[in-house]
Subunit: 301 residues, 2 copies
């Protein structure tokens, strides 16, 4: 069986610029022993970007760019792989094949290999991927080796639920502050934090170096809140308000829209009920999965 040797690394390394792996506990993985990651022979083979051939791509074959472009769809799947890896690491599994990882993540094995290949050559042919090592690499690529303070704006039902959500802290997203426009809410304690005024935003963002803002307000004020967040220096926004908001270039935005998800389900449900062909099962953010995952992580959502 697999005579496991630490995987070689082929791509140019960008860890020089990347933040050092923090001693804090950014990942659940930290508790499952990621200090013991294999120590691969750095620079064993100093070759270029691996793109040799007719691939339609802007990189010339000599362009050793540390910032390999990672497709958007791949970025969105990396957190899933990470979660699966944490799970198998907790079970003390040392190596994992793309096949098994794919099964757990609910995707195609070829997709897993392709996705991971954007990060570098972290597998070993005939063996698989070293779980701990891959886990650390994905964490690094995702920027999870550092702590990200976040601010939540809008402390209604959802804001409070988010403030109490343990899964954020468990993944290195520390809630730095809760903010609300309603004076009657300011000062109230939620999840161990005192709610602060919307006017304190600039001070909070600057003082605690907050880069990520979460909008959990009613739709009507979401754009205004977004503007204030951006003005205060926030450059990543997660929007839960059921409205489209716009941000200037250079600011990232993602949205989570509860009603929209239900409406999408409604579409496919209706098709089924009216006896239509229902070509494909619908459309998760990720496909329907195929694995009997027996999840661990004691999250009390």
């Amino acid at each position: 069986m697999p005579d496991h040797t630490p995987p070689r690394r082929r791509l140019a390394d960008d860890s020089a610029e990347a933040p050092a792996i923090a001693a804090s506990t950014p990942l659940p993985a930290a508790s499952s022993g990621n200090g013991a990651r294999p120590d691969p022979p750095w620079g064993a083979s100093v070759d270029h970007d691996g793109l040799d051939g007719d691939t339609r791509d802007a990189f010339g074959p000599l362009d050793v760019r540390s910032d390999r472009r990672v497709p958007e769809a791949t970025v969105a799947r990396l957190p899933i792989y990470l979660r699966c890896l944490v799970e198998v690491a907790d079970a003390k599994v040392v190596t994992i094949s793309s096949e098994r990882l794919a099964e757990m993540a609910g995707v195609n094995a070829a997709k897993v290999r392709k996705d991971l290949s954007y990060l570098g050559s972290y597998g070993t042919r005939g063996v698989g991927y070293d779980v701990e090592y891959l886990l650390v690499q994905i964490s690094r690529v995702l920027g999870l080796t550092q702590d990200w303070p976040v601010v939540i704006v809008g402390i209604g039902n959802l804001g409070q639920a988010l403030a109490n959500y343990r899964g954020f802290a468990a993944r290195g997203f520390r809630i730095a502050a809760l903010v609300d426009a309603d004076p009657s809410k300011v000062g109230e304690s939620v999840g161990g934090l005192a709610v602060r005024s919307l006017d304190d935003l600039p001070e909070i963002v600057a003082g605690q170096n907050v880069a990520i803002g979460i909008i959990a307000t009613p739709a009507g004020v979401a754009q205004d809140v977004a503007d204030r967040l951006v003005a205060a220096g926030i450059t990543s926004v997660l929007n839960f308000a059921p409205t489209v908001i716009s941000v200037p270039p250079g600011v990232s935005i993602r949205k989570v829209d509860l009603s929209i998800e239900l409406q999408i389900l409604s579409f496919y449900q209706q098709r089924r009920e009216s006896g239509r062909p229902v070509d494909d099962v619908p459309a998760g953010d990720l496909p329907t999965a195929g694995a009997p995952v027996e999840a661990s992580e004691g999250l009390t959502l």
Copy 2:
């Protein structure tokens, strides 16, 4: 200016099989007068599916299938368009151009036209789309002309927030029941509903004809809950638990994963901070939008 006449309809109509437009109030739009929709001349031009040519598609040109295939990406955008239309309808605007709708939805105008063309020819050249009419058509396609009872499983922080979320009912998703496995929670009242036992699931689903289930439990029990939902007869699942769950074919599943969204933001944030080229701004479910939407709908999320 636009001499507005009711838009013609070109595609084969499938309203024969589709549920009748309910008299209930499935949409906020109901309150803005959608009873007054224009009455287009049905069957004016009886033509086929419009797919004539070399498009790689399974439909033969003579195959008048009522169930036009709507691309997944389009389905995911229809709820956004709908929301924008409700907003302009409330402002008593009668027609809207693809350009304006695109601006509001934060997408490309060509995309709006292409998306809407999958539903039929509901616009009028030189004029635009009749707001109320388009609104009704999108609602119908999405299955929002009927009421969808939903059951929420897991009444923790998030489950309670969801139970109190007014946006669901406002869009025709009636919360039929709240369910939890914890006996100490059963009987408790949340958002005006008594929490029921997980064991009551079959009875609830059958008795109230529930098709959609929402999982808001910890990851560890999510798969088991999904299995029970499916066994009880649920065929659409919205999963908030941070784990991949699998369901049999014929059951739809979508997921909302809070931590994953933050991790994706972290990726792009890190790229920016480390002075990388940051080719593209990241990756919302929908793009970054471009419109100063001043939202209405008084949702108290």
